[in-house]
């Protein structure tokens, strides 16, 4: 019998999902939720900035001039579906089905890659073809940085999940790999929620107002 570094709040861990069965896993998941709270403030600040600057177009292109519903819908659908497949991966995790977990995670990051590709293409079109780079106006600064931050998060998420896939392949589903897969799932869903706000606050209001 060993005593862990962590004080023991007696709790029957064996009945919990795998990722919660160790004290360490539990701590990290709580920590990750708090990290997501901090991310929420970070994105909240970026949204606030964007909304303040939205009308500051300085005679340059406006949201209405730039945005087209087609590509935006494509990005949205791809990302939402990836969130769904990510959810499926968590279900497979709960079933301790390694193959299913790995499979759905791969689908998720492929969709993530498509999303990033679409977004890069959108940025490229604005900046190069439509004469609307980041330095054109405060509105565009706010737009590129808000969406760029989200896009960077998605890209980092892809790298992270690739790392987890390698570990899953090598070690199978253990309390540690289960925890990592679960946390990556939380992160992915969080980014999806942020996107929904972007869709509403940036694109829909931009197209309508």
């Amino acid at each position: 019998m060993t005593e862990s570094t962590l004080s023991l709040h007696e709790k029957d861990r064996s009945k919990m999902p795998l990722e919660y069965t160790t004290e360490e896993g539990d701590l990290r998941i709580v920590g990750f939720w708090i990290f997501l709270a901090a991310e929420l403030v970070l994105f909240g600040t970026l949204f606030g900035t964007y909304l303040v600057l939205q009308s500051h177009t300085a005679g340059g292109p406006t949201a209405k001039d730039l945005f087209e519903i087609g590509p935006v819908m494509a990005e949205t659908i791809v990302l939402l579906v990836s969130s769904f497949t990510c959810g499926l991966s968590t279900i497979e995790l709960r079933r301790h089905n390694k193959k299913g977990l790995i499979g759905w995670l791969i689908v998720t990051i492929l969709l993530g890659l498509v999303f990033v590709g679409l977004e890069v293409n959108e940025f490229y079109t604005y900046a190069v073809h439509e004469g609307a780079p980041i330095s054109r106006s405060a509105f565009l600064s706010g737009f590129f940085v808000l969406l760029g931050t989200h896009g960077c998060h998605v890209s980092l998420g892809i790298i992270w999940i690739i790392g987890i896939l390698l570990q899953l392949g090598k070690r199978g589903i253990t309390p540690v790999t289960a925890r990592k897969a679960f946390m990556a799932g939380l992160y992915w869903h969080f980014l999806d929620v942020v996107w929904i706000f972007i869709f509403t606050a940036v694109y829909l209001t931009g197209l309508v107002i």
Partner: protein
């Protein structure tokens, strides 16, 4: 070729001022000296294994405090340079540009690289011990936080000799701090140095939040926690919710400067006021981040040396909670005069004044704790007692400043400078000195000398008043902040002379404290019991310094002031049951945090000079370290029962 190298060097290194050459020389000499000593005594391996790669919260705490003391020295020298320049009218000790740089680095260093890391150091030392835990929740992240702070501080300080210092004030208001009006690398140093250490601070906030919420000893419910731990819990919440806003603000200004965006510029629709709002949305909570923890320290110290439990425990907690909530809705009081409507000013005026209520409640609780106590005037207690009246003056003048119409008179005058030094020095600095003397034996196993400690206290405290009390009147007489010189004949000269004397007195007090530290390291009284002050909380139940694993058995807690209760029980003959030891699971040391932070430094330095050939590999290095960390699986080891027995026997604790 030679010419172009020459011109590069002339631009890269700051030249022209003899003081800078002096600094260059002393930095070079100090570095050579350190390398030589380490090499001569063959200490490199020791340094790497025992310190640089350590994930032990006690060692990380000590490193934080050493770094913060060094930074306090630098910030203090900046302060003395300013005071020297202002002693008499029309002096030319510093020119205008140089003065601007000095108040900018002084303010930034004092807040970001002294107050915060000093507090982080003390909480690293004390919190896990107070809650009966063996480490923090995420030891790796804890080491990473420290190293990010450290490289951020180094980057910021480098500006002094390479490239030029920032000069836009610690609040870096746009549009002055933006690139059109402030070209060059100075402001980039501010943005990146502060950003890097800020990421570390955010991680610390998350870490301690989880540690305190999840790792308390069995039986220690939230309302049985020591008050210092409470203050850190609340501070951590503020950190988590305030720092991301600052991260964004700094990033946006960096993007403005490096990539030509228009967030805060005047051209192309940018909004300089947006910077003021974002900065202070973090900046006001920040002052509570450096204040609430010292409230916690004073609560511990006053209870210990009054030999009573803290008066009004629950009220103390709730008033801190109230302060933390209010701290998020007062930021606008920093710019009442910048064109808000009357209702907006009225709202922020009232919300600011409201903070005085919970703060006042706390002052009275400390006084009631002292009431009828058996007060013992140790050095930490002197700092705590001096805090009460001196800080109250800062608080009262804060309420004066909170009245928006009156603030049109006080704004940006020396009245304001006196106010925030009354809170930052009589609050934060007295608090960290108090905590330093209080926990010193726990950190190192010997005491700081009391006589020297008391002398340094009296010199510092009296000089503080000599320097900052007259400053209020100087402000009312019309002297504004950030002015580098002034004409004769305004009646300001005598007060300025007195203030400079006070400032040098504080310097003397600090030097004496440093001497006391060195003297005590050689001759200090050993702390054999682990409980030199007859303490009330669990950190005093361990040996001094505590073993790597802190507690051989996790303590069980039934009441507040857990250790005081245990001692009473022991006196009554109830020694508790003897339990056998079990192997203890501890995290391994790791070099990744320090390496990762070094890459961060490279990336930061590259961005400062817009050398992307340097910045991009730096960022890749950071990501590579993260990936490397993700693949580390055996990151723990066990401490065997024999070793525990040996360690416990060495401090006479084998039960």
């Amino acid at each position: 070729m030679i010419d172009s190298i020459k011109s590069f060097m002339g631009w890269f290194f700051v030249t022209g001022d003899p003081m800078i050459y002096g600094a260059d020389a002393s930095i070079a000499l100090a570095s050579i000296g350190i390398v030589a000593v380490l090499t001569y005594f063959k200490k490199w391996k020791w340094l790497w294994q025992e310190w640089l790669t350590s994930v032990d919260h006690k060692k990380i705490g000590i490193m934080y405090i050493i770094a913060a003391l060094l930074m306090l020295f630098r910030g203090g020298v900046d302060a003395l340079m300013m005071r020297t320049q202002l002693t008499l009218p029309n002096l030319h000790f510093l020119d205008a540009e140089h003065y601007n740089q000095v108040f900018t680095t002084h303010g930034t260093i004092m807040i970001i690289f002294v107050a915060m890391p000093f507090i982080f150091g003390l909480m690293n030392i004390a919190v896990p011990l107070q809650i009966g835990a063996r480490d923090v929740a995420f030891p790796f992240l804890n080491a990473l936080s420290f190293w990010l702070f450290f490289v951020g501080a180094m980057l910021f300080n480098l500006s002094f000799v390479i490239g030029g210092s920032p000069d836009a004030g610690w609040s870096s208001y746009a549009p002055y701090a933006d690139v059109e009006m402030n070209p060059g690398v100075g402001q980039n140093y501010y943005l990146l140095g502060v950003q890097i250490s800020g990421i570390g601070s955010l991680a610390t906030g998350i870490n301690f939040l989880v540690t305190i919420l999840k790792m308390r000893a069995p039986g220690m419910t939230l309302f049985k926690m020591p008050m210092f731990t409470w203050s850190i819990l609340i501070t951590s919440v503020i950190v988590v919710f305030a720092f991301p806003a600052f991260t964004v603000a700094l990033a946006l200004m960096t993007i403005d400067r490096l990539f030509g965006a228009h967030f805060f510029t005047i051209a192309a629709g940018g909004s300089p006021m947006l910077w003021a709002n974002l900065f202070w949305f973090w900046g006001h909570p920040e002052v509570y981040i450096v204040l609430l923890p010292v409230f916690g320290i004073f609560s511990e110290v006053i209870a210990t040396f009054a030999h009573k439990t803290l008066f009004g425990y629950a009220v103390m907690v709730w008033s801190m909670v109230a302060i933390s909530l209010l701290s998020f809705i007062t930021w606008l009081h920093h710019f009442f005069t910048m064109g808000n409507t009357a209702p907006v000013n009225a709202f922020f005026s009232i919300s600011t004044m409201l903070i005085a209520i919970p703060t006042g409640v706390k002052i009275f609780n400390w006084l009631f704790t002292l009431n009828k106590g058996r007060i013992q005037f140790t050095t930490p207690m002197l700092w705590a007692l001096a805090f009460i009246p001196n800080f109250t003056i800062g608080g009262v003048t804060g309420v004066m400043l909170a009245m928006a119409p009156a603030d049109y008179q006080y704004h940006n005058s020396y009245f304001l400078v006196a106010h925030f030094h009354s809170t930052l020095i009589a609050g934060t600095v007295f608090g960290i000195f108090c905590g330093l003397h209080y926990w010193w034996p726990k950190m190192f196993g010997y005491m700081l000398d009391e006589t020297k400690g008391k002398w340094s206290f009296w010199i510092f405290m009296i000089s503080f008043n000599v320097c900052f009390m007259p400053m209020y009147f100087l402000g009312l007489m019309g002297m504004t902040r950030r002015m580098y010189t002034y004409p004769a004949g305004l009646g300001w000269t005598p007060i300025n002379v007195v203030m400079t004397i006070g400032a040098f007195g504080m310097g003397a007090g600090f030097v004496l404290m440093a001497y006391n530290i060195i003297w005590s390291a050689m001759h200090g009284k050993k702390d054999a019991t682990g409980d030199p002050w007859n303490g009330r909380t669990l950190e005093w139940s361990t040996a001094s310094p505590a073993a790597e694993y802190n507690f051989a058995h996790i303590p069980e807690v039934s009441e507040r002031d857990a250790f005081a209760v245990t001692k009473e029980k022991r006196k009554a003959g109830n020694a508790g049951t003897v339990k056998s030891y079990a192997p203890i699971h501890m995290p391994n040391n790791t070099g990744i945090p320090v390496i990762m932070a070094s890459f961060m430094f490279v990336a930061g330095f590259g961005c400062v000079f817009e050398w992307y050939w340097m910045a991009i590999p730096g960022v890749i290095g950071v990501i590579a370290c993260m990936i490397a960390r993700s693949f580390v699986y055996n990151d723990h080891h066990y401490i065997s029962v024999e070793e525990i027995k040996r360690t416990e026997a060495a401090t006479g604790r084998l039960s």
